[in-house]
């Protein structure tokens, strides 16, 4: 019996690993945002914390809602409570997500629309950052900036960069065929050789920005919760 419950708790944590902070493009487990997860029968309870009391409530809402969806999808879990603690909008977010009310339903007098556009915008940034990592891999492997616009997914070696790029492409509905170009515009269109340096340079800035934010948020989390020092994942 105990064994089964341990397995289920692990399954819950694994499910939570798929939930990302949309701004930081990293798992909420790796970021140290999950403080506890317990399973009792078919019910899971997960507690989440964030680096500051004022962290943007829209992103906080997305993480709580995504965590609920992920945990509920674990076989054998019938109900899940996701509890965001120590945040100014904790109550509204927790009860809103529990009730399946959506962002507007959670903040009826305040939110003007759901968060689809916001999520999309950050998925786009995450794709650009993943694209830059993949391009850097190719440049290290001997490709040149001139040849880069012709590089295809199949040209990427097996490894973290290719997997990350494939996942981020899937998020923004770009195809995953081996023949797809690596360096593309946000809409998946090819990049002209003349435009490649600027596209790649901007992608570099996007990646630096996201990585830097993740460093800062980790630091603030560790300051706010001194017990929370978590291993940094190599990005």
């Amino acid at each position: 019996m105990t064994l089964v419950r341990t397995d289920q708790r692990e399954a819950v944590v694994d499910a939570l690993r798929t939930v990302r902070d949309p701004e930081l493009d990293e798992s909420i487990v790796d970021l140290g945002f999950v403080t506890s997860s317990t399973v009792d029968g078919g019910h899971a309870e997960v507690r989440l914390r964030l680096p500051t009391y004022f962290c943007a409530p829209n992103f906080a809402y997305l993480m709580v809602a995504d965590a609920q969806d992920a945990v509920r999808s674990v076989p054998g879990i019938d109900t899940a409570s996701i509890v965001l603690v120590d945040h100014f909008a904790s109550d509204a977010i927790n009860s809103g997500v529990a009730a399946g009310a959506g962002f507007v339903g959670s903040f009826p007098d305040e939110a003007g629309s759901e968060l689809d556009d916001l999520r999309r915008n950050f998925q786009r940034k995450a794709h650009v950052a993943a694209m830059e990592r993949a391009c850097r891999r190719l440049l290290t492997d001997g490709w040149t900036i001139e040849s880069l616009p012709h590089a295809r997914l199949a040209d990427l070696p097996d490894g973290a960069e290719r997997e990350r790029l494939r996942r981020r492409r899937a998020d923004v509905d770009l195809p995953l065929d081996p023949g797809c170009l690596v360096l593309v515009g946000d809409d998946g269109a090819p990049v002209e050789p003349d435009d490649a340096p600027l596209r790649l340079r901007f992608a570099h800035t996007v990646r630096v920005s996201i990585d830097g934010n993740a460093h800062f948020c980790r630091g603030l989390l560790a300051t706010r919760y001194p017990d929370s020092a978590v291993e940094e994942v190599l990005r």
Binding site: N58, F88, A92, F103, E110, R201, T205, D211, G219, T223
Partner: protein, 342 residues
């Protein structure tokens, strides 16, 4: 001023505060959490020897301010940026009036900036005129993400904001400091989005738009718009202290800024009292881009001189003694992005 290895630097601290975040002034839990959040920033990014006890951080004295900026902090001129937060603090957190009361006692040390909110309409325009006259304003600090009643914040591209920008032009207020986000209300869009600055900067080419915190956490969006607008600048408040705790990240921030917007448009700032100018100036003058970050140009003494003071001095017409001038006359030495040199 600061001198090291035969190089002298004129220092303008582009973003300082004289606040009261003490429990006695806190109006509600948000006021408590706001100063707590600042204190976490302070603890997270300061060297251990520069940490203040919480009660001093909540409310420091005028003597502390003067000592830390001018007696030991190398600052020649400091720019007060107000942060009213009257919903959180009974007497406001840091108002123009509070800043001006100190500035009057120390002539030639401070520049006092004002603030406005386009939702104040005609009344606000009149108040801005009075504020400008009283304090000889040359700059304002704006928060676009503040909620009020049914309004979910505002944009610099709003017609009402344009009326205020026109008023600034008329009053000779030419430096518009913009602080994007964060919002304490549930906003469905990104509170850090800087695209409205692009619109306003295109329309008001005779005004300077200084994006505070260089757009962090949206450095990429800021760089993208700033490279296309010759009148958009980046203030380094909050970015500076990474020089201690995350020097590689700091190198990347400054490297990106120099690439996209150029060395003439980056302004030093401590965000005192969150951080202290003394250690920031010392570390910045010693700082070099790590060798393996080959995509970035080196930070020469001239680049540092511009960032530490000359750029802000140009925006605020601050007279700089000749010995602090850049040694190499302006010419585009480093690779700068398309548009940055226009």
């Amino acid at each position: 001023m600061y001198t090291k290895d035969g190089e002298s630097y004129f220092v303008v601290d582009g973003h300082v505060h004289f606040w009261d975040g003490s429990p006695a002034n806190q109006a509600n839990i948000h006021g408590t959490q706001f100063i707590d959040c600042f204190y976490d920033y302070h603890k997270n990014l300061s060297p251990a020897e520069w940490l203040w006890p919480k009660d001093k951080f909540e409310k420091y004295s005028e003597q502390d301010l003067i000592h830390d900026l001018f007696e030991v902090g190398y600052v020649d001129k400091a720019i007060f940026q107000p942060t009213y937060l009257t919903d959180f603090y009974t007497n406001g957190f840091n108002t123009t009036e509070q800043d001006a009361a100190v500035a009057e006692k120390y002539p030639d040390k401070f520049i006092v900036n004002g603030a406005w909110d386009p939702r104040d309409g005609e009344r606000g325009l009149r108040a801005l005129g009075e504020l400008a006259q009283r304090y000889n304003l040359r700059g304002v600090k704006l928060y676009t993400a503040e909620w009020r009643g049914d309004s979910h914040g505002w944009k610099l591209s709003d017609p009402e904001a344009f009326r205020y920008l026109e008023k600034c032009r008329e009053l000779g207020i030419k430096n518009i400091h913009v602080h994007k986000g964060p919002t304490i209300r549930p906003l469905e869009r990104d509170a850090f989005d800087v695209h409205d600055v692009d619109v306003a900067a295109t329309e008001f080419t005779d005004l300077n738009f200084i994006v505070e915190h260089v757009g962090l956490p949206r450095l990429e969006d800021f760089c993208w718009i700033a490279t296309q607008e010759p009148n958009v600048y980046g203030g380094l408040a909050v970015a500076m202290p990474f020089i201690h705790s995350r020097p590689r990240y700091f190198a990347q921030i400054v490297g990106e800024l120099c690439y996209w917007i150029g060395e003439d448009k980056i302004l030093f700032a401590s965000d005192y009292a969150i951080w202290q100018p003394k250690w920031l100036v010392e570390k910045f003058v010693d700082f070099e881009i790590p060798e393996d970050l080959t995509e970035y140009a080196p930070l020469t003494a001239d680049v540092k001189r511009k960032i530490l003071g000359l750029n802000a001095a140009a925006l605020y017409d601050i007279e700089v003694p000749a010995q602090f001038a850049a040694k190499v006359p302006d010419e585009p030495a480093a690779e700068v992005a398309v548009g940055a040199s226009s």
